[in-house]
Amino acid sequence: MPNRPDKVYFFGTCLIDMCYPQAGLAGIELLEREGIKVIFPQAQSCCGQPAHNSGFPAEAKAVARQQLKSFKQDYPIVVPSGSCAGMLKHHYPAMFAGEPEADEVRRFSSRVLELSEFLVRVLDVKLRDRGQPIKVTWHSSCHATREMGVIGDSKALLKQLDNVELVELQSERECCGFGGTFSIKQPAISAAMVSDKITDIQQTGATRVLSGDCGCLLNIGGALEYQKIPITTQHIAEFILERING
């Protein structure tokens, strides 16, 4: 187990900032409960992935530099999103390879951890479930799965919750169709993907879908609501906090 730090940075992500601040706050609270001091640089914004994936590398880099500037100290950077964490950890070094900042970027990237990963692998948190019995299902975001490899950590957290029954999706590892700008550049394909995901979710009998990525939740939750299906979506941090607070 890596050393337990006293302080960490929190990278809130732009989507959480705009649409899911409660998920971000829950993440912060989970860290503070473990006695960690959380620093939230007000100059942070977006990891740059939207532009990076859409053919605008110069804009992505400009925004990436803003994050490099905002997280200067040598603290771990905890990120409540597998996708943004993957961007900071794996894409930044490639984007800046061969540039004067390359070394600084590599050091920055090596400090990045996804929230579940940090809670399990660094803090080894112990959770006590105080909630009523509930049946939930879980959607693995593509980048949490393939870039960060942290799904095992998220599930390990959920398994600690005694009253939570986790029913797995058949298509757990299949993309929900969000893909950032993909959902608006290829709306028809994205729509087909999210509706298949929803059919699968309904088959589980769960009343709530959890994920570690708000992009997927925005997509799945928006589609569930559009179809007036009474299944809610929630970020794992918010769910855990709710369970342990009872």
Binding site: I39, P41, C142, R146, R173, G179, L218
Partner: protein
């Protein structure tokens, strides 16, 4: 279709998605293919090791491709195989025509070859009154229905058993209707058998060409490949120039990766190694063997140190079978010969972004292809390069045809604005705050119009996390 350069990808997508039968057929077939693959590569560590070996072999081959191709030509020639070089598909077709005409032949039997599809060889030969009969079962089925392959390994994957039963009944004379798979196979076999013996020229693809020995390797399951390459007096093999490997010892790991990834087999029923035409005193085999090596844009791809990785592909089809986009659209919607993830990186480079650039946008960058590709092609990085190229303004390190075709004032401006917002904390706070205030009243126009077709409008929070963190008194260092 591809020739006119007018593929309307968006309409194809809408049509494909509306086809329930197609969705059902694909789902069933893909599910079974991926399960079989999973069973042969059940040990993740062993698979990862094998992938690394496969990747290293392909990288090494590409890094010395010009030398290997010369060596291949020299050794094939010494073995009695006649080697022909074709820069374009038109050149390749002409080479075929010259050989066929040189033998006064008019009946060609073909084993499966995606490069021949790239050349639209069947059409070309038909236009010259030469009959080209596909003998691979899947290819035979789609040829009967005047279709093109919808998958690089399983060309008729879009059709189910019932559709094939009807097709056989209607198109093959004196065929009673049957849905029994064994009977359908027997019908095809019987019909094809007669044709094999009447074929004057046999055509095949090449899976690997070994430079050090001048050997052409052909992987197949039906035995039709062996028939096409041994029964007619003349065999013409055709390959893309990237198919060469250096050593004979490079073949076994690649073969294992190919068969496991493609069909979930440890080894295929047939594996042909062709090293020469029939020699004096031998009782069978063609009297002449030709090898046509096609470029068609590949050397340009090879010249780009990053995009070159596209050419590592061994055409196993696994990326198609695992792609959430391909498995919903099928191959025809892409509008070009190579569909799915490999098509989405290869086709825009071959045909130009201005024609096929939409394929590069047809990915959520989920990375499922990257996870299964037996030679570890970095799809998502390559797709990003192609997207960058679509908007590039001249100073790009790459040189893909159609470079900058998507450059558009409004979109570029929007991204510039986005960058300003996200590099200036004051503006960023202000814009998030504004969204929280007016977000719910935003008109459903622009991007939001597409989003809200199947989803509700995102709910922007009244207070951002920035604001909440500040209110909580968190340090801002």
């Amino acid at each position: 279709m591809a020739e006119t350069g007018a593929v309307d990808f968006q309409s194809n997508v809408v049509r494909a998605l509306a086809d329930r039968q197609l969705r059902g057929n694909l789902k069933k077939a893909m599910g079974s293919l991926s399960l079989k693959r999973k069973a042969v590569f059940s040990d993740p560590e062993e698979f990862e090791h094998l992938r690394r070996v496969g990747n290293a072999i392909r990288r090494r081959s590409l890094s010395k491709l010009p030398v290997l191709l010369e060596q291949l030509e020299k050794n094939c020639t010494a073995n009695g195989i006649q080697v022909h070089w074709a820069e374009t598909t038109a050149d390749a077709n002409q080479i075929f025509l010259d050989i066929i005409k040189g033998h006064d032949a008019s009946r060609v039997i073909k084993g499966k070859s995606m490069v021949s599809e790239e050349m639209h060889l069947n059409h070309f030969l038909e236009d010259h009154s030469i009959e080209a009969l596909e003998t691979d079962l899947g290819e035979y089925i789609i040829q009967l229905d005047h279709e093109t392959p919808s998958h690089i390994i399983v060309p008729a994957i879009h059709k189910n058993k019932d559709q094939i039963a009807h097709l056989f009944h209607e198109k093959i004379p004196n065929t009673p209707y049957t849905e029994v798979v064994e009977e359908l196979n027997a019908i095809a076999r019987k019909t094809l058998r007669q044709k094999f013996f009447a074929g004057e020229i046999g055509v095949s693809g090449v899976n690997f060409a070994v430079a050090e020995t001048g050997t052409l390797c052909l992987v197949e399951n039906e035995g039709n490949g062996r028939m096409c390459t041994t029964v007619p007096p003349v065999h013409i093999a055709v390959m893309g120039l990237e198919k060469v490997v250096e050593h004979l010892s490079d073949v076994p790991p690649l073969l294992r990766l190919l068969t496991g990834s493609a069909t979930g087999q440890v080894i295929t029923t047939y594996f042909n190694m062709i090293t020469s035409p029939r020699k004096a005193g031998e009782k069978d085999g063609p009297k002449e063997v030709h090898l046509v090596i096609l470029d068609n844009g590949r050397s340009k791809i090879l010249a780009d140190p990053q995009l070159r990785e596209t050419l590592q592909c061994i055409r196993c089809g696994a990326c198609l079978n695992h792609c959430p986009v391909y498995t919903r659209l099928g191959g025809h919607a892409y509008g070009y010969v190579y569909p799915g993830p490999i098509g989405s990186i290869l086709t825009p480079q071959m045909e130009g972004l201005h024609k096929a650039g939409a394929m590069a946008s047809a990915s959520s960058l989920c990375g499922a292809c990257e996870e299964v590709c037996p030679v570890k092609i970095p799809f998502t990085s390559l797709l990003r390069i192609l997207r960058d190229e679509s908007y590039a303004e001249g100073d790009s390190p790459h040189d893909v045809d159609g470079h900058g075709y998507k450059r558009h004032f409004t979109e570029s401006l929007a991204w510039k604005g986005w960058a300003v917002m996200n590099t200036n904390p004051t503006l960023n706070h202000l814009s998030t705050k504004m969204l929280g205030m007016v977000g719910a009243f935003l008109p459903k126009a622009g991007p939001l119009k597409h989003w809200t077709q199947v989803r509700t409008t995102p709910k922007f929070a009244k207070q951002s996390l920035h604001a909440l963190a500040k209110a909580r008194g968190l340090d801002d260092e």
